[in-house]
Symmetry: C2
Subunit: 221 residues, 2 copies
DNA sequence: AGATCATTCAAGCGATGACTTGAATGATAG
DNA sequence: CTATCATTCAAGTCATCGCTTGAATGATCT
C-alpha cells in the first residue's frame, strides 16, 4: 500500500459519498427504491440517455450502492440493501434541517404557507382498517400497477383535476408517491387543498410502506 | 424558479453528498467530531494548507454540515449537530458492508487474520466500574488532554512500544481513538496482540462515548 | 451460424473541483 | 489610528466529472 491506510479508507468512504453527489444518480436511486429495473426503463423514467444512464449505474455499483444481474439480454439493477435507503433518507434529513434553500423549495411546493403535518404510516394503516380515509396514489399508472397500498386510488397530477369531482367534499384524503424524494404528493396535496379538500401527505412513500412490512397490492399482469 | 422544484431539491441533497465526497473534508469532520476547532488547528491536524483548509470548511458550511463563530480574530468551526456524525457513520457502514477494498484495508490494519470483535461502550463502562480493564487512549497528547475516558492511559502509536513493559501480561486492554474513521486503535490493538497481550478495540471513539452521555475527564489547563 | 437487441465501452467537449500562491479583508491590540 | 494576525478571496493549473456520439460487446432467437 503506497499511501497511508487511513487515507485509503477515507478515499473509499468519499467514493460512496461521491456516488450520491449527482442529482441524476439520486434520481436513479429513487427509481430503484421502487423495485429492480432494467437500464432502459431507468433511462426512460429519469430522462437520461441510455449510455449516460448506464455510466451512472456503474458508478453506483462501484460505490456498492446497487448490484446488477443479467436477465436474458437485459441487465437488471437493484439497491444493494436497505442501508442505501437509510443513507438517502439521512442525506435528505440533514439537507432539510440545515439548508434554507430546501425549506424554500418545499414551501413553494406546498403552494404557500399552510403545510399540514404528514400522516404517519402507522396512522394511515389504522385509519385504513376502519375505512375512514381515502388514499391517493400520485404516481404513473405503471408504478401503481407494480404495487400500491390496498384501496388506493391512482391519479397522476395531470389526472387529478378530473377526479376532483368524484371526491366527497368532506373526505379525509392521504396522498403518497415514490417516497421522500418525490414531490408528486406535495403537489397533489397543494392542489387538493386549493380546492378546499382535506388532504395530507403520507410520511414516506411506497418503498417505506413496504419496508415497514405492510400490505402491498400488485395488479395482475 | 427556472428549473423544476424536483431537480432543485435533488441538487441540494447532492450538495450535501458532495461535501462528503473529498477525503480532506472527511478528515476535517473527524477532527471537528472531537470538538470545535479554529482553522489553523484544523489545518495542522489534517496536513492541509491554511487557505485550502479554509476553502474546504466553507464548502462544509455551504452544505450545512458545520457552522462557525468568531472568537476574537479566530474563526471557530464546529459540527452543526449530531446528524452530521450519523451521516458519516452511515457512510462508513455502507462502505464497510459493500466495498471489498475497505475490508481489505481493515484486515491489513489489524495485522493479519484475527481481528477480535470490538468492545461495546456499555460493556466498557461496566468493566470500568468494577476496575477489571485497562483503557488505552491512542491519540495525540493534546487531544487526550482536551478530554478522555476517566482512568485511560495515553500513548501515541510511537510511544506504545515504550509502555509495553508496564502493562500486566494478563491485563485486559481496551484501546480507543478518535472514532470509527480513526485507525490508531486498530493499529494499537494489532501491535499489542503481536506482543501477546489481550487487547481489543472500543466500538467508536471518544465522540461517540461523549454522545452516549458518559463521563469524560478534561485535564486542567 | 447469423441477425438482433440491450448494454457497455471509448473518445471528445465543456464545466467543475482540488490545490497552490499571493493579495485582500476584518477584528483586535498597542 | 496603525500594526498585526487569522482568515478569506482571487487567479491559475491540472485532474476529474457529466454528457454526447458512435462503435463494440455479449447474450438471445430464428
Amino acid at each position: 500500500m503506497s499511501i497511508s491506510p487511513k487515507l485509503a479508507l477515507l478515499e473509499e468512504y468519499a467514493l460512496v459519498a461521491r456516488a450520491l453527489s449527482a442529482p441524476a444518480r439520486l434520481s436513479l436511486l429513487e427509481q430503484l427504491a421502487q423495485g429492480e429495473r432494467g437500464v432502459e426503463a431507468l433511462a426512460e423514467k429519469t430522462g437520461l440517455t441510455i449510455a449516460n444512464c448506464s455510466q451512472h449505474l456503474q458508478q453506483l455499483r462501484r460505490a456498492g450502492l446497487v448490484t446488477s444481474r443479467r436477465d436474458g439480454k437485459a441487465v437488471i439493477y437493484r439497491l444493494t440493501d436497505a442501508k442505501t435507503l437509510e443513507l438517502m433518507d439521512l442525506l435528505r434529513i440533514v439537507a432539510e434541517r440545515n439548508l434554507a434553500q430546501v425549506e424554500r423549495i418545499l414551501r413553494g411546493l406546498s403552494g404557500g404557507e399552510d403545510a399540514p403535518e404528514p400522516v404517519s404510516r402507522a396512522d394511515l394503516a389504522a385509519r385504513l382498517a376502519e375505512g375512514s380515509v381515502t388514499v391517493l396514489d400520485v404516481r404513473p399508472a405503471d408504478e401503481y400497477a407494480a404495487g400500491h397500498i390496498p384501496g388506493a386510488l391512482n391519479a397522476s397530477l395531470a389526472q387529478l383535476e378530473q377526479i376532483l369531482p368524484t371526491l366527497a367534499p368532506d373526505a379525509e384524503i392521504v396522498a403518497y408517491c415514490r417516497g421522500p424524494y418525490c414531490v408528486y404528493a406535495h403537489q397533489a396535496v397543494a392542489t387538493l387543498r386549493r380546492h378546499g379538500l382535506n388532504a395530507r401527505r403520507l410520511e414516506g412513500g411506497l418503498p417505506e410502506w413496504r419496508e415497514d412490512g405492510r400490505q402491498v397490492l400488485v395488479d395482475a399482469g
